[in-house]
Symmetry: C2
Subunit: 231 residues, 2 copies
Amino acid sequence: MGHAGIASTLLDVSAAEEPPGPVSRQERKQRTRQSLLDAALELLADRSFASLSLREVAKRAGIVPTAFYRHFTSMEELGVALVEETTRTLRGLLRGARTENSGYGGMIRASVHTLHKHVRVHEDHFRFVTRERYAGPGAVSRAIAVELRMFSSDLALDLARFDPLRTWPTEDLHLLADLIVTAMLGTVAELLDARPGDTAADERILAEAEKRLRMVLLGVPHWRPEGQPRI
Amino acid sequence: MGHAGIASTLLDVSAAEEPPGPVSRQERKQRTRQSLLDAALELLADRSFASLSLREVAKRAGIVPTAFYRHFTSMEELGVALVEETTRTLRGLLRGARTENSGYGGMIRASVHTLHKHVRVHEDHFRFVTRERYAGPGAVSRAIAVELRMFSSDLALDLARFDPLRTWPTEDLHLLADLIVTAMLGTVAELLDARPGDTAADERILAEAEKRLRMVLLGVPHWRPEGQPRI
DNA sequence: TGTACATCAGTGAACGCGCGTTCACTGATGTAC
DNA sequence: TGTACATCAGTGAACGCGCGTTCACTGATGTAC
């Protein structure tokens, strides 16, 4: 339970290591549930979700395999919970980064840096999500696809505030937003591949990420949504 | 061996189902090897590589588990062979599509359509590669990364022939090429997600893919490689 | 061409192991009176 | 406040199963003479 508790504070889910006084049955249950999530995430640091066994996760969480079923009906259900845990706060952070900055440049810089900080704090979560995104036909991949669509919709909404984009058809706006989300996911994968603690690598990756986004947005004023494109 | 043979003809590796006359020992060995690759690919249609067992593959290929080791030292080695099988011909096809067309528009259209045709013929191969790309720290993911870098280098080379790109620094060129390769991979994933035989869906996905690439390339003439970007 | 030996792809039994899931249980927490 | 009963998170034994890998083997193909 020790290091599992530490991991959970990173997400600020259950802040205190061992709170004072007696604890209700449902509080204890919630803590064991979190231990299972934390244990799974640690094991997923260098493995695929499909290769993870219920017994391993239970063992690492400090419970007997059969007690797992008190919290999740299957490993798949736990995986979906991990996906939700990953995106829970990031969506709000990114929306904030965009609304608190005006102009492409500021928005790009703030978004990239917000993403960077968040990914570095929750590396295991993002490793899990980038790995499982296309991992197969299971509930986990489906949950990830849903979350990404939400990121994309958030972004499309904010992009629509820019003058040349204001008049774009919705589908073109979503195309652009998807392109940006995909590029950002590539950046996440690069960050997770970099040697740990390699600050220079991080800065290079962030610079490249900003450059990529500028390249994409550079074409926007020249795009003709209706009629023949000029290329 | 029956349907395994059929799958292999799709790749044109061993064309005849049962050639006439006696067959040398090494020919037979090569055929069994191909059966193993085909069997693995069929099983991978809706599963992750990590969840695939040596025994399953051997069984489907029609040999006893222990005979597997006559062909590959491990499942991982088989996985790497599958990656090579996937990209073997596509690289040349895409290079051809670009050199036989001039101008962004023609190149984009030809590339997207070439990719589409190839993906549709070899769906299982591409499902495997898109799934395993980020699947973990194994040899398979590493092999995929190497292949993608080669696609990107090919593309950068061809992009350098365009006038505004001719003078770009190499790193910016590679950034642009990576962006395009990533976008194309997204298109592959969309194609594989579409309902089989849904021609309308295919056409929509291809149209979107072309649009995305045009969006990206639209910014090119306005990019300032040196000095401050205008955004 | 015929014979004797070497090679080696594929066989089949056996091993110890971790897997998911079942089941009846325990004992602390919660609730009704 | 005290007692009797209900709830339910966690236990531990047991099951049948598929796994990767070992080993000694078989018998067709290949080679040397």
